[in-house]
Amino acid sequence: MNLRSIALRRVANGAATLLMGAATLLVLLPLIIIFYHIIKMGISSINPDFFTQIPRPTGEEGGGMANGIAGSAIMIGMASLVGLPIGVFGAVYLTEYGTGKLSTTIRFCADVLSGIPSIITGMVAYGMLVVPMKGFSALAGSFALSLIMIPIVLRTTEEQLKMVPTTLREASLALGVPLWRTSIKVTLRSALTGVITGTLLAIARVAGETAPLLFTALGNQFWSKKLTEPMAALPLQIFNFAISPYEDWHRLAWAGALVLVVLMFGLSLAARWLGRSKHS
């Protein structure tokens, strides 16, 4: 090989490296812009009041989104209470018991379900709960969120369970442990950190969902007393405040956005940290 072609190759190599480096930066850029913008606009309204007060009437300065934060926590909690067990045990069934057509069908349905736009999930919850119950409610909101959660949890858990070596299941079975106990105490136990990681990501995902809550929980300017009443949620409040014509509500919306993003970022970090500590 002569010197000329080596020099040419070096140039090509450098150009390709530069190009890929630039592409990576471009991927990061939107994230940086979003963070920068949200922090810049929202940080000034983050104060104790934001976490303890409910929104004030228009024209009055101050107020916070305490009811939205609490509402989000309540609805995500209820959605998790229903969605996590169904997703996790459904995945156990698919990997440990499921064979043949039924499980293929379930898997396919889960994939379709996770691909359905969340506004449609909200409309379904509206038709199924809001209309018969004659009113918007936190229950309907939780139901819509759990519908979004189930397929995510199901599929991530299934992936984690598949990674558990067969030899462990066999070790347990050979000791005379029934399959159902083996599935829970050995297989699921071995995959636990991965499963928790998956559920945290699912929670982070639904924490930011707005569309399914529009027709279900509706939102509330005040504290909700019952689960059958409309309930405030952080993303809903951000939406309503951002489209309002008032300057101070806009600032609150930015602060809400900042809190939401920090929350989701924290959940993702926690999930990553858990996932990593498993391998070290």
Binding site: R169, A174, G176, V177, P178, V186
Partner: protein, 252 residues
């Protein structure tokens, strides 16, 4: 000697593949039976049929009978779980439960079934580990993770775990093939020691090992049982030409 296991016209299919063909075989109580043969001859498949490990493989189909004393292992009303409590298994690669300590691994059969009586555990752990000659090596670190042991120690731990639940038969699927020579020797000594209490069936691709540890040797080839007999006779004066070719290293 009494016959502990009796395989009659055993056939095993995986889908279209006829892996084990019409095997008839007796295993005497408190003896060591070695199953030898080249890779893919069906020896592990036969072994795993004895504690119904194929139940997990949807494509597997087992026909014929395997009698464990008076119980038909594949009988209509027989629960595989009760069979597996009587027929334990040690696998090729040591597979202690990685999330459990050494102590918990030994009593895993009780813990996972939720039947451990308080105050019994210490006694079971100590006696089981002593039986596999592991007690002195680990008694000061019973609460550490089982994965920190060496491969040979892990395998002896797996044997301890198996005998802790007091089976009648122990199946061993190439238990020493992943181990170094010294660990292998320890496992072989252990097999010799265990046969006074248990009936042992061991699959091995190491013919010297079969000759050293077993009372009876069965030679499998292409899914068929070619020859079974007293180990000394099979190795010195085999009846079939195929057996002789295999043990003298002409193929396999």
């Amino acid at each position: 000697m009494n016959s502990k296991l009796s395989l009659r016209d055993l056939n095993i299919h995986f889908g279209e593949n006829h892996a084990v063909k019409s095997v008839d075989m007796e295993v005497a109580e408190n003896s060591v039976t070695a199953i030898i043969g080249p890779s893919g001859c069906g020896k592990s498949t036969v072994l795993r049929s004895i504690n119904r490990m194929h139940d997990l493989t949807p494509s597997a189909r087992v026909t014929g009978t395997i009698m464990l004393d008076d119980t038909d292992i594949y009988g209509r009303n027989v629960d595989p779980v009760t069979i597996r409590r009587r027929v334990g298994m040690v696998f090729q690669k040591p597979n202690p439960f990685p999330a459990m300590s050494i102590y918990d691994n030994v009593i895993a059969g009780y813990k996972l079934n939720g039947v451990l009586k308080k105050g019994e555990a210490d006694e079971i752990v100590e006696s089981s580990l002593k039986r596999v000659a592991l007690w002195d090596e680990v008694k000061d670190r019973l609460r550490t993770g089982a994965v920190e042991l060496s491969g040979g120690q892990q395998q002896r731990l797996c044997i301890a775990r198996t005998i802790a639940v007091k089976p009648e038969v122990i199946l061993m699927d190439e238990p020493a093939s992943a181990l170094d020579p010294i660990s292998t020797l320890k496992i072989e000594e252990l097999i010799e020691e265990l046969k006074s209490k248990y009936t042992i069936v061991i699959v091995t691709h190491n013919m010297q090992q079969a000759a050293r540890v077993s009372d009876v040797t069965a030679f499998f080839y292409l899914g068929e049982l070619v020859e079974i007999g007293e180990t000394r006779k099979v190795f010195t004066n085999p009846e079939k030409k195929q057996t002789e070719d295999y043990i003298t290293g002409r193929f396999g």
